[in-house]
Amino acid sequence: MTVSDAHRAIDAVWRIESARLIAGLARIVGDVGAAEDLAQDALVAALERWPESGVPDNPGAWLMATAKHRAIDLLRRRSLLQRKHEQLGHELADRQESAVPDLDAALDDHVGDDLLRLMFTACHPVLSTDARVALTLRLVGGLTTEEIARAYLVPASTVAQRIVRAKRTLAEAGIPFEVPRGAELAARLSSVLEVIYLVFNEGYAATAGDDWMRPALCEDALRLGRILAGLAPEEPEVHGLVALMEIQASRSRARLGPSGEPVLLLDQNRARWDQLLIRRGLEALRRAEALGGREGSYALQAAIAACHARAHVAEDTDWERIAALYAALARTEPSPVVELNRAVALSMAFGPAAGLELVDELRSEPALRTYHLLPAVRGDLLDRLGRWREARTEFERAAALTRNAREREVLTQRAVECARREADALRVPAPAGPEA
């Protein structure tokens, strides 16, 4: 095989095997930084040998066997060998190098636990968000530094530094390689879910013309979410997050118009929604709810997305249910933006006056003072109620607040339409009096 063919094959093997490799090594040496270095050494060895010898039948085992020898050297240098020998004794004693499948079998029991430990460690709250994202994509996602850099539109050196600093922070803080227990688990799990959803949103925000690694982040996030669902199947919010991402991803083909402009949910061609992903999302949501996670934040957001997904046309949308779900979400995670969304749902379900009542209350919310969607929504509701002068003011305010040129155009256009409707209404002649 040519060297470049071999490299592409090795890249593919790396994506499949690297997370488990690093996780297994981290358990042996107790440190993810050192584990990744050992894994990288094994990768270098593969890049040297495999173009000649071909990709081995069990590449994961080859990499692990190669890395383990260096792991032992490392431990010897750290004078921890005596203690570790006892742990590894049954795996290594009297085994030949060729008994690779046996080593693999010994590790298999631990694979799931190790990978979970790796995810929790890479998402540790002692790290900044940027560091957690970079470390997770690198160690668990198997992305290269260059791939992460392209996806986030930063130089590769920035990503490399972020990862080096993150590993150092973990080592200096003495973060143990373990799955958190008890009271700590919920918060730590939240951190992992947050990282995964941040990656997804970064990909979701990508527009046409961006480097394709950017929208590919949605796929990477989905993959990480599904991996976590397999490792922690009893956690409802994991399935909730996966459900949310599957359903949001199902719309990706409908979200952009012919010249790359964004298409609003209610205007999308639903024939372009990916039914396979919708089915998967609904199934994941069922799992979340079956585990008692109906009121979880991600599960509720997924349930809202599911309402849209179930409607074959926009007119079939169950807005009452959506309004109720936003109400539940507001109880779990009170937020003015959630309330604004609830107002929109109320107006769709019960008419604009119902939504306006809530929106009027939100005008005093400091958090929404510069949020352009508040006047935009108020403008829309007033427009539908025939209060065009007020609606025009709101749309002009919204247009001034938004930083998106295309949105400003749309909002300005609505202000103009309101002005026209007001003028037309004033021109209608008064009804004839009794003298006529």
Binding site: R8, R15, P59, G225, G260
Partner: protein, 137 residues
């Protein structure tokens, strides 16, 4: 990227021979590996062509032909859809197919699905043609 993985038929699958417990277990473990890796989107086995049909269009007119069909190795016995980063990754997964399937003699085909990126630009070009912009050079 998504890939369709096609498990070609053979005389056994066409005869509706039930898979052994061993094969069921092996395929189960294999599929579970891919599910746990977050790459398997869906998959199913197909019943023999004796239960199927074809609709052949000729001059725009359909004609129904009932199975079974011949040339087993050109037929499909099962499929799955994988979401991976490259064709090489799809190949690497398929290389891990249970070796006992088909008594160690089985053919799997890998086909990439069309994605949004494949259609995006051409839609814009079509749109431009509509309004008379794009001219051949």
């Amino acid at each position: 990227m998504r890939f369709l993985i096609i498990r070609k038929a053979d005389t056994s699958t066409e005869a509706g021979v039930a898979p052994t417990e061993e094969l069921i277990a092996a395929m189960g473990r294999y599929n579970e590996e891919m599910v746990k890796a977050g790459v398997m989107l869906s998959g199913d086995g197909l019943q023999p062509t004796s239960k199927g049909a074809r609709v052949k269009f000729s001059g725009g007119q359909p004609r129904v032909i009932d199975g079974p069909f011949t040339e087993a190795k050109e037929l499909v016995a099962g499929f799955s859809i994988l979401q991976v980063n490259s064709k090489e990754e799809a190949i690497e997964w398929v290389k891990r197919w249970p070796q006992i399937d088909g008594g160690g003699e089985v053919e799997i085909e890998i086909r990439q699905l069309y994605e949004l990126e494949d259609f995006g630009p051409s839609e814009a070009i079509d749109r431009m043609r509509e309004v008379g912009f794009a001219k051949p050079r």
